[in-house]
């Protein structure tokens, strides 16, 4: 009896939360005058349906990128490093992957391997830059990593607009990477194998976070930097290593987007869909718990493809997805706190 009472007391705020979110979605649907039933069935179809599950495959393909970015930022967040420069690291990786594959001659599999490795290296270096700015130049990671998103975005835009542009296509994009390097589809589907890379990265992050000494040390650093320093952990080294790891995974995600989905670098292809920011909120939604991150990444991917389905079925602007995601984060993840505090304004490396 008393047990049931505590359960209902715990469940009540969640019921209110869900009602609030539903009410806001309903208000937006009514504002555009969309038929609610059709909108909802369009959402379901867009996220999980389609002929031979084509839309479900699109959701999975998108979640390969979102979960990848989520894993990348999760490693930083758990180490107490508020690296919000995932977007820049993602762009650095995608750009490098495409350019290497376009320019490098050789057997396709070798080219693919070299391109992916260079993409990871590029992502890692871009993340390290933010770490160096914080540790040695007194620029808080939070703003340093964010500000670094912009230069790389414009560098990439310049490179595919001028020196490496596919002029004949008439668009701002690089040439296609050789067809032999494209990631294959799973048999009988239109889902590329990129999701396997993400699965490996997620599994690695899980093992790393829970079962390695290094992962334990970084987590310690995240929970209490003072304690970590006092017991003699090499805090600076851990910071740089963690950032490099995050950046490498973000770079890998950029490579997946190139070889699995677009087969070239198109200006804005990694920035406009807000993959990096969606990855961040996917991590925040589940309070940085590693095993739950892939689930919440898939959930947000479904929100986005579902919104596209809602647009097709009921004429609701698909931008509603962004609003819904933000509202969910506001209501649900506003409970996350603590571990993020150390890289605020007055973090490490400040004089």
């Amino acid at each position: 009896m008393s047990n049931a009472k505590t359960i209902s007391r715990e469940a009540l705020p969640w019921i209110f939360t869900i009602l609030w979110i539903a009410a806001i979605i309903l208000a937006l649907l009514l504002f555009v005058g969309a038929p609610v039933g059709e909108a909802l069935s369009g959402f379901w179809n867009g996220a999980f349906g389609g002929r031979r599950h084509a839309y479900l495959m699109a959701t999975l393909s998108r979640s390969a990128l979102i979960v990848g970015m989520a894993v990348s930022v999760m490693l930083s967040f758990r180490a107490g490093l508020f690296n919000i420069g995932g977007e820049g690291q993602l762009v650095a990786g995608g750009l490098t992957a495409a350019l290497v594959a376009v320019l490098l001659p050789g057997p396709p599999m070798l080219v693919l391997a070299v391109a992916i490795a260079s993409a990871m290296l590029a992502g890692a270096l871009w993340a390290l830059l933010a770490g160096i700015l914080q540790l040695f130049m007194g620029v808080p990671l939070l703003v340093g990593s964010l500000l670094l998103n912009y230069p790389i975005r414009y560098i990439a835009s310049y490179l595919v607009a001028h020196p490496f542009r596919d002029v004949q296509s008439g668009m701002v994009q690089s040439h296609l990477v050789p067809q032999e390097t494209w990631l294959a589809y799973f048999p009988g589907t239109r889902l590329d194998m990129g999701i396997l890379f993400t699965a490996v990265a997620a599994a690695f992050a899980l093992v790393y976070s829970y079962w390695t000494v290094h992962g334990y040390h970084t987590r310690l650093n995240g929970l209490s930097p003072d304690f970590a320093r006092t017991v003699g952990l090499p805090v600076r080294k851990l910071t740089l290593q963690t950032l490099a790891l995050s950046g490498a995974i973000a770079g890998l995600v950029g490579a997946i987007a190139v070889f699995g989905i677009h087969h070239r670098y198109i200006d804005g292809m990694l920035v406009q869909p807000l993959y990096a920011w969606t990855g961040i909120i996917a991590v925040l939604l589940v309070g940085m718990v590693p095993w739950a991150v892939p689930i919440s990444g898939f959930f947000f991917a479904a929100v986005q493809t579902g919104a596209a389905g809602m647009e097709r079925a009921a004429g609701v602007p698909k931008e509603i997805a962004l609003v819904v995601q933000a509202v969910i984060i506001l209501f649900v993840a506003s409970r996350v706190s603590g571990a993020l505090s150390s890289s605020r304004g007055d973090g490490d490396g400040h004089a």
Partner: protein
């Protein structure tokens, strides 16, 4: 380069770039001083820019547009307060969510109301006309900077000394600083720190709303998706650098605005647009590094 800086039309364009950064940064300064870590200035600016176009389009006067921007900014400030102060959400998490919410709401309503994606421009959007100041406009070099700007620029200028005196002398200003520096003392005095912080957030929303209005109905007469384009983040940096003090903030905003304006001008020199576009962010990083080195050196000097 020197000719460019001496060019009066370059100087005259600086206030256009300073105003949004300065207004947003002053709003951020209020939060900073009140102890609210608000890094959602980017979202506040964006919502202000959109609401200003909405108001100016439907009413036909830019002043209603500016009022709409103020109202929208204040509403966003209330949402921030609800989730950060009342529900106790982490301020970074709430800020990120508010930024996404702003991007989502503006693009959603852009399509829902005007049925366009990307950008909305219409002759019916009533923009601010430049205010000409007689006599002052005849001063060489300085005249075109001070005269012929949007009313929001003069408002932003007036806000700097006003906020300085307000924070130093006014009772509410003292309470805002107490909420940031010593909330227990404030509570002991019978004032709720949270309520003071709420006021700071709402005022921040109003100021950022005006900054957004400068972007959309003073600098141009249109709304473009994501048109704040990082200026809110630059304002955040300005706030962090100056710890929310109005006068230093004014000079930092002036510097950032001048770089912004310069990068706009050098596009004419044949430099690729992508390189001029990244100048404000690089300049911001350089200023951050330089200031932190200078501070480190000074503290070292004090110690010896």
């Amino acid at each position: 380069m020197l000719e460019l800086i001496a060019d009066p039309s370059f100087a005259a364009s600086i206030p256009r770039f300073v105003t949004p950064i300065l207004l947003a940064a002053l709003g951020g300064a209020l939060c900073e001083r009140a102890g609210v870590f608000n890094i959602a200035l980017e979202g506040f600016l964006l919502v202000g820019a959109f609401a200003a176009v909405l108001g100016a389009y439907f009413s036909g006067t830019p002043y209603i547009g500016a009022l709409a921007a103020v109202a929208a900014g204040m509403a966003l400030g209330l949402i921030f307060a609800e989730f950060n102060l009342r529900r106790g959400g982490d301020s970074i998490v709430v800020s990120i969510a508010i930024n996404l919410l702003a991007a989502g709401l503006t693009t959603f309503f852009l399509r829902a109301i005007f049925d366009v994606t990307g950008a909305f421009s219409d002759p019916a959007i009533a923009g601010f006309a430049p205010v000409r100041l007689p006599l002052i406009e005849d001063i060489p070099w300085l005249g075109p900077i001070l005269s012929g700007q949007s009313p929001l620029f003069y408002l932003a200028l007036a806000c700097v000394p006003f906020l300085h005196i307000f924070l130093a002398r006014h009772r509410l200003g003292l309470r805002i600083r107490a909420a940031g520096e010593n909330p227990q003392a404030l509570r002991a005095g019978g004032v709720s720190p949270r309520r003071v912080q709420l006021l700071a957030l709402v005022a921040c929303g109003a100021l950022c709303g005006l900054g957004g209005a400068q972007l959309s109905i003073a600098n141009v007469n249109l709304f473009v998706e994501n048109m704040s384009a990082g200026r809110g983040w630059i304002a955040v940096v300005a706030v962090l650098l100056t710890r929310g003090r109005p006068w230093p903030l004014f000079f930092i905003a002036l510097l950032f605005g001048a770089v912004d304006s310069l990068s706009f001008r050098v596009q004419g020199l044949g430099l690729a647009q992508q390189f001029t576009d990244m100048m404000p962010y690089l300049a911001t990083l350089i200023v951050l590094v330089a200031l932190s080195w200078w501070r480190a050196k000074r503290t070292k000097g004090d110690a010896s």
